[in-house]
C-alpha cells in the first residue's frame, strides 16, 4: 500500500536504529503522546530496537482510556432506552462502566451499533425516524472535524432525531499537566501526528519554549516513530527545545483551516475530567449553545450517576509516564483486558492493554516479577 509500506521497511528501520545509537551519549526519557503511536511501538517492537539509554514512556493520548467513568455510565443509561439507537466507534464497545459495557447491553437487547464514520449515524437517523439516534462522540482534535460535521449536517437537513454525547479531549493541556507535575520525568515529546494534521503545531511552540522540551510532530508508521525519536534525541543532545515536523507529508504548521473553522462553529473549549488524571481546565470540547438540540447530555436526563474507581489502579501514573504497566502489581493478574480495573487497560490503545496484548506481561524479567510480587504483598 502506497504511503504505508515504504514506512515499514526493515533495512531503513535498522538504519535509523543505528543512527540513534550513534547520537545518544546519555539517558533520555521521551514520551509519545498518542495511543496509536504506543500501539505501533509495541506492535512492531520498536522500543527493542532502541539503545537502553533511551526510554519511551507512554502518554495520555487515548481518548477511550480517559473518558470518565461517569460518561461511560451515562452512555449506557442512554443506550438502555428502548427508543434509542446508540451508535459508537468500535473502540468504546467493551469499555466497562460501573456495572456493564455496551456490548453486554447489546446482547441484552439494546440497539447498539458500531459505526465506522459519524456520517453513518445520519443514515441510520434518516432510516429510523421513530427512533432517537445518539452518537458517542469521543476523540481528540483529530476526530472533532468528523463529529462536528455530523452535527452541522444534521442541522442542515433538519434531522430531529439525532444527537451526540460529547467527550472530546485536547492534547496540549494534557501535555502541560504532565510537564507541570512534580514527578515529571519526560524530557522530550513525539507529538501527535494526526491531531496536528487538523490543528497544526503552532500551539505547541509556546509549550516547547516554556518548559524547554523538544516536541517532534511524528507519524504512526515504524519509520516515522524511529525518525521522530532520532530528531528529538538530536535536539536533546544539542540542548535545543524546538517544535519540529517529522510528518510533513500530511502536517502543515497551520493545520487544516477549513476543518478548524467548522469545529470552531460547532464546539467550544471547556473543562474536562480525564479518567485517571482528574479535571484539566480548558481541556475538552462541548457543543455550543446554538446546537443544544443536538446535545444528548441535555436531551437525556439520566439522573446522577455514582461511580467507583478501583483503589489499586495506577493508571494516572501510567498516563503521565511516571510508571510503566508492568510496574503495577495488578498488571496481568487482577487487571487484564478481559477484566480491566482502570483507564489504561480498558481500550486497545491504552498502554496497559497494548503491553498485555503484545505479551509484555509474559516477558517480565524475574527481577521485575519478584519486585511486583513484593509490591503486591506490601499493598495487601
Amino acid at each position: 500500500m502506497k504511503y504505508i509500506d515504504e514506512y515499514r521497511q526493515q533495512e531503513l528501520a535498522q538504519g535509523l536504529a543505528r543512527e540513534i545509537r550513534r547520537t545518544v551519549t546519555r539517558p533520555w526519557v521521551l514520551m509519545e503522546v498518542c495511543g496509536g503511536q504506543t500501539h505501533s511501538i509495541v506492535k512492531y517492537g520498536l522500543d527493542h530496537l532502541l539503545p537502553k539509554e533511551v526510554e519511551l514512556v507512554h502518554g495520555p493520548g487515548c481518548p477511550v482510556c480517559v473518558t470518565p467513568l461517569e460518561m461511560i455510565d451515562r452512555a449506557q443509561a442512554i443506550a438502555r432506552r428502548p427508543d434509542v439507537i446508540f451508535c459508537s466507534f468500535g473502540d468504546m464497545l467493551r469499555v466497562p462502566g460501573s456495572e456493564s459495557d455496551l456490548l453486554i447491553l447489546k446482547s441484552r437487547g439494546a440497539d447498539v451499533r458500531v459505526v465506522y464514520s459519524p456520517l453513518d449515524c445520519l443514515k441510520i437517523a434518516r432510516a429510523n425516524p421513530d427512533k432517537k439516534v445518539v452518537f458517542f462522540a469521543i476523540g481528540f482534535e483529530t476526530t472533532a472535524p468528523a463529529n462536528a460535521m455530523s452535527v452541522w449536517q444534521a442541522r442542515q437537513e433538519g434531522l430531529r432525531n439525532f444527537s451526540v454525547l460529547v467527550s472530546h479531549v485536547l492534547v496540549p493541556p494534557a501535555m502541560e499537566a504532565i510537564l507541570q507535575s512534580p514527578d515529571n520525568r519526560v524530557q522530550g515529546f513525539l507529538g501527535p501526528g494526526h491531531v496536528c494534521t487538523v490543528v497544526g503545531y503552532e500551539e505547541y511552540e509556546p509549550i516547547a519554549a516554556k518548559y524547554h522540551v523538544p516536541i517532534v510532530v511524528t507519524g504512526f508508521e515504524p519509520l516515522d516513530l524511529l525518525q521522530g525519536t532520532l530528531m528529538a534525541l538530536r535536539q536533546l543532545e544539542a540542548g535545543k527545545a524546538e517544535v519540529e515536523n517529522e510528518y510533513p507529508r500530511v502536517v502543515k504548521r497551520e493545520g487544516n483551516r477549513v476543518a478548524q473553522d467548522l469545529v470552531g462553529k460547532v464546539f467550544e473549549v471547556c473543562d474536562r475530567a480525564w479518567r485517571g488524571v482528574g479535571t484539566i481546565p480548558q481541556s475538552g470540547y462541548r457543543l455550543r449553545d446554538a446546537f443544544r438540540d443536538y446535545d444528548a447530555e441535555h436531551l437525556f436526563q439520566v439522573g446522577s450517576i455514582k461511580t467507583q474507581e478501583s483503589p489499586i489502579c495506577i493508571s494516572g501514573l501510567v498516563l503521565r509516564g511516571v510508571k510503566k504497566p508492568h510496574d503495577c502489581p495488578a498488571f496481568g493478574k487482577e487487571c487484564t483486558p478481559q477484566h480491566p480495573l482502570g483507564a489504561t487497560m480498558v481500550s486497545a490503545e491504552g498502554a496497559c492493554a497494548a503491553y498485555y496484548t503484545y505479551g509484555r506481561h509474559l516477558h517480565m524479567k524475574p527481577a521485575a516479577a519478584g519486585k511486583a510480587k513484593e509490591l503486591e504483598v506490601a499493598h495487601s
Partner: protein, 97 residues
C-alpha cells in the same frame, strides 16, 4: 489515537444531501470518503482518511523527501560502518578518513 490511512481519490461527487464525497482506493479496496475538509483535492490525489473523512492531502513531494532522507542516512550509516570495520581491521594504516 487517530487511526488514519492514506487512499487515492478516484471520483468525486455530491451525495444526495449535498455533501462533497469521493470514492477512494486503499490498496485495492474502495470506500466512500467525505472531502468537505479538503476542497482542493482532485481525482488522482492521495488523502489521509480518518473515520471516513479526508483530513489532509498527502504531499507527494514531502513524502518523497522524507523517504530520501531515510535512505541516504541508511546508506551513509552503512558506509561509515564499513569504514569503521576496515579501520578496526587495519589500524596500522592510519586513522579513519
Amino acid at each position: 489515537m487517530c487511526l488514519a490511512v492514506p487512499g487515492k481519490v478516484l471520483e468525486i461527487e455530491r451525495n444526495p444531501e449535498g455533501v462533497r464525497m469521493a470514492k477512494a482506493n486503499f490498496g485495492g479496496i474502495v470506500k466512500s470518503v467525505c472531502l468537505e475538509y479538503t476542497p482542493e483535492v482532485v481525482p488522482g490525489d492521495y488523502v489521509l482518511v480518518h473515520v471516513g473523512f479526508a483530513l489532509s492531502k498527502v504531499d507527494e513531494e514531502e513524502a518523497a523527501r522524507t523517504y530520501e532522507i531515510l535512505r541516504e542516512m541508511n546508506q551513509l550509516a552503512e558506509l561509515e560502518e564499513g569504514e569503521t570495520e576496515a579501520a578496526a581491521a587495519a589500524p596500522a594504516k592510519g586513522g579513519a578518513s
